[in-house]
Point group: C2
Chain length 231, copies 2
Amino acid sequence: MAKKITIDNLAVLEQIIDTASNNFDLKEILAKIVEIIGKITKADSCFIYLISNDQVILKASLKSHHGNLSKIKMKLGEGITGWVAENKKTVVIKSKAYQDKRFKLFTNLPEDKFEGFLSVPIIFRNRVIGVINVQHQKTRSYSKTEISFLETIGKQIGGILEVSRLITETDVLHEALATQKIINQAKAILMKSAQLDEDAAHRLLLKKSMDKRKSLKEVAEAIILAQDLTK
Amino acid sequence: MAKKITIDNLAVLEQIIDTASNNFDLKEILAKIVEIIGKITKADSCFIYLISNDQVILKASLKSHHGNLSKIKMKLGEGITGWVAENKKTVVIKSKAYQDKRFKLFTNLPEDKFEGFLSVPIIFRNRVIGVINVQHQKTRSYSKTEISFLETIGKQIGGILEVSRLITETDVLHEALATQKIINQAKAILMKSAQLDEDAAHRLLLKKSMDKRKSLKEVAEAIILAQDLTK
């Protein structure tokens, strides 16, 4: 039996690695991973939460009927999930998770309704960046192997989430750099043509942006285009 | 026996995941992974190469006596390693790898001296970003399980390398954004104080930078400081 579990676990890790390697969409990757975890733990419910600005936000759920996932969120330290996120420690509750005195209870939060509750941190480079919850409607013992394997999955998901966050961050930074160049070009045009200093040119750009309800970048592009046309 | 291998493989993946999760230094992570691969394949030699600008560059080696790893590099398509990098396909050679006619031979390249040769692509999101080589001095059969497991490790390393590359890229972009702000501030000061247009201010900054053998950022910082002092 122990060997059986171990061999399945290898297949599970290989599946997760494959999923992350072949997929471009984080939502799809997390949905697939939640499904895999749900299957191996025979969970009634499985959630993946991501920490963002001191909030723990639901990102993937076994049940597809959760419409807007991101609406389900809690503060660091709140609830079982928030406790795991804050303390970087796994929580294992065999039964009556909803009565556990250490944790504040929520209404309408999915974690209130279960007996068995296994909650492990998602870790990247020693930082908690999310939480995986596995929940059972009936009393459920979690084995040491099971807990430690879910912690390994937590580390694996940590790397996956970090790649995804970094891809978004580099996109934003590339865009910011390009925007800054355009805005500076427009400012230089205003400084020269209207004999303004930098502050005044900046304020003029801001004002145009507000008046026209356009982004700073769009206003700046218009100024550069106008300048090109009059050359 | 098959079960034994499978269980070891799970432990191996867990070790690699742990290594990547707990370590901050890519060199250390790759050194550890090369060591793990060397151990499970009983390799005489194991290398991890990274693709950068159409070159395949050695990044980690089982033997610590390779002084400057990055000196060992080849072009995409050159050698067995370059072929794997270009074709995104695994190469398995049981014996006389050095005589394989498909591949151009190199002098002083570590891949010339082995009989058994297993070379698998490191993949992230369907792109090859590196190559893992496992080499044996004696004739060596590689099993299907072994090959497919090394391909899984290749995908796992793909994620690790990508995180690392993205962390470097975001650092560079943050720095570029900060530098651009400082340079623009300095340009604005020059435009106002010396009545220059933007091009002329830019040329003046470049000239000062070359004359003083300082970076553009350092020159810009000096101009801003001087301005602050005369306020």
